[in-house]
């Protein structure tokens, strides 16, 4: 076990190293949010300024786009987590007719090229005469995140021992109580992981959204469009805020978890 502790420490450091690697472009993004650039291009360093923070909401369309993205990500994640978890449970725990087909569809949803998914969804919405707006974007986001949540939850469900639930039922718990008090807590890590994946997929999606958005803009859409003339530093600042809020949530979560662990 001595060797084990050294190994654990190494792995601990390694985990932080991977986090640092994944975050390294974010550091550059944050830096250039403070760049006092004299032109529209924001790629070479011209000295420190806070003016982009002061003018954060100076571009109304960009601000709207950001709120749209956050709203759509939250709603689509909520829907996806509920129905994806249900499907993950069904596939991981039960045997039923159509299981093979369902598995195939889950696979197909991941493997359909985004462009084709976006274009054919647009055709579908057009022929149903459905106006393209935040609702159609949300529908599309649920579609492409669904499989990721399902697969993640299923990976958890199949490791569980069904006898616990049987025991709960034997003790007279109804299906809902069994689910809430036994099943849900035991699959919760899978559900949370799925939720995070769904949120990340939604808030960063470009291709599918660009087909089904109508005249609604999201954050990635606005940014891609602005590449033609130069991405304004406000975009970096908004990215920084998203990241900063995320870090705060992570810290708060860790602190809360520690408190819970101590009480």
């Amino acid at each position: 076990m001595r060797r084990g502790r050294l190994g654990d420490r190494l792995l601990h450091g390694y985990t932080w190293l991977v986090i640092a690697w994944l975050s390294s472009p974010i550091a550059v993004m944050i830096l250039f949010g403070f760049n006092d650039t004299p032109s529209k291009s924001n790629t070479s360093w011209h000295g420190f300024t806070l003016k982009w923070y002061a003018q954060l909401f100076a571009i109304p369309d960009l601000t709207d786009a950001l709120w749209n993205s956050v709203l759509i990500a939250l709603v689509s994640t909520a829907i996806t987590v509920v129905i994806g978890t249900m499907l993950g449970l069904a596939l991981g725990r039960h045997r039923f007719r159509g299981q093979g087909t369902t598995n195939f569809l889950v696979f197909a949803a991941i493997s359909t090229p985004e462009l084709v998914m976006g274009a054919s969804l647009l055709s579908l919405f057009v022929s149903a005469n459905l106006p393209r707006d935040r609702i159609t974007i949300t529908i599309a986001h649920v579609l492409f995140s669904l499989s990721f949540v399902t697969v993640t939850v299923r990976a958890r469900v199949v490791t569980l021992d069904p006898s616990l639930e049987e025991a709960a039922k034997d003790l007279g718990a109804g299906p809902w109580a069994t689910f809430r008090q036994v099943t849900l807590p035991s699959i919760l890590p899978g559900v949370l992981a799925g939720a995070m994946l769904a949120f990340a997929l939604s808030i960063d999606d470009y291709v599918v959204t660009s087909f089904v958005n109508g005249s609604t803009l999201t954050f990635p859409l606005w940014i891609v469009g602005s590449v033609k003339t130069g991405i304004p530093p406000q975009v970096n600042v908004m990215g920084t805020l998203i990241f900063g809020i995320g870090v705060l949530i992570a810290i708060a979560n860790a602190v809360a978890a520690r408190r819970r662990a101590h009480t």
Partner: protein, 283 residues
């Protein structure tokens, strides 16, 4: 009631997939057999040769995509497994914090990440420029516009999608079981092989499914990080669809890609030792 449960659980997703995925896939199937052009319209001619033509024209890009996707997936597994392992067994009360931090960079637009990578990795930039200044790298050394950059980019972009599912199945394993196994098998590696690894296989399967498939189909990394001769099939589908408006070829390519990926996952599942890919997926 018990017998109905799985159907009720699956119902909302079925409806979603039936309306928003099956209909478009049927569309794609139909389009892939048509001929024509965007101005004069497309007509169903059951032109199965669209498939043959597409595959023979773009066989190189197909093979290249599978290679890049496969290499990136292997890299993700090697890099990601230890992270998932450590968080699952030693993350303690901070488990969710670590997972969240791994994913957080992906909440910010890929355009910004991409531009930042260009900044960090440019030939004479802060990283390689410095190393070249110290004489540690030859002046012509570059990473951008190479196959390595594309594979590294794919690895970067999908790594959390490998780590999270592995974590999810490992987290279920009781650390005491591992300790007991270590006592039993005497070495850590034997304990790992005999106890931890088998328990994590569903997570590994999920992780590979969620990374290999999208990484192989991805157009963005090749476009941004690659050079000449790194074009992937995702780029071709994009060009055929958006630039050439050759919808039948784009659809035929997409279906072929899906079929190839399905076969890839099937082979992988066989290697894992299961009879049927769909069963494997359901494990």
């Amino acid at each position: 009631m018990r017998r109905l449960t799985p159907y009720l659980l699956a119902l909302p997703s079925w409806m979603w997939l039936a309306i928003f995925l099956v209909v478009p896939l049927a569309a794609m199937a139909s389009v892939s057999l048509q001929t024509g052009n965007v101005i004069d319209g497309f007509v169903m001619t059951f032109s199965f040769s669209n498939y043959g033509d597409a595959i023979s024209a773009y066989g190189t890009q197909f093979a290249r995509s599978l290679l890049y996707g496969g290499l990136a997936t292997a890299a993700m597994l090697v890099i990601g497994y230890p992270v998932a392992y450590w968080i699952a067994f030693k993350g303690g009360s901070r488990k969710s914090m670590y997972l969240f931090l791994l994913l957080l960079p992906f909440f910010v637009s890929f355009v910004l990440r991409t531009i930042s990578w260009g900044f960090l990795l440019s030939d004479d930039g802060i990283l390689f420029g410095t190393l070249k200044g110290w004489g540690l790298l030859p002046p012509d050394f570059h990473v951008l516009a190479t196959a390595f950059a594309v594979v590294a980019g794919l690895t970067y972009n999908w790594l959390p999608f490998m780590i999270l599912p592995i974590y999810v199945s490992l987290e279920r394993v009781d650390p005491r079981v591992v300790e007991a196994a270590q006592d039993l098998y005497a070495t850590r590696s034997a304990a790992f092989r005999k106890v931890v690894l088998p328990l994590s296989l569903p997570g590994v399967f999920a992780g590979v499914l969620m990374t290999f498939v999208p990484a192989t189909a991805d157009p963005i990394n090749a476009q941004v990080l690659g050079g000449t001769g790194n074009t992937m099939i995702g780029n071709i589908i994009q060009t055929e669809y958006l630039v050439n408006n050759d919808y039948p070829t784009a659809s035929a390519l997409s279906f072929t890609l899906m079929a190839v990926l399905l076969v890839g996952i099937f082979i992988y599942a066989r290697v894992l030792g299961t009879e049927n890919v769909l069963e494997a997926a359901a494990r």
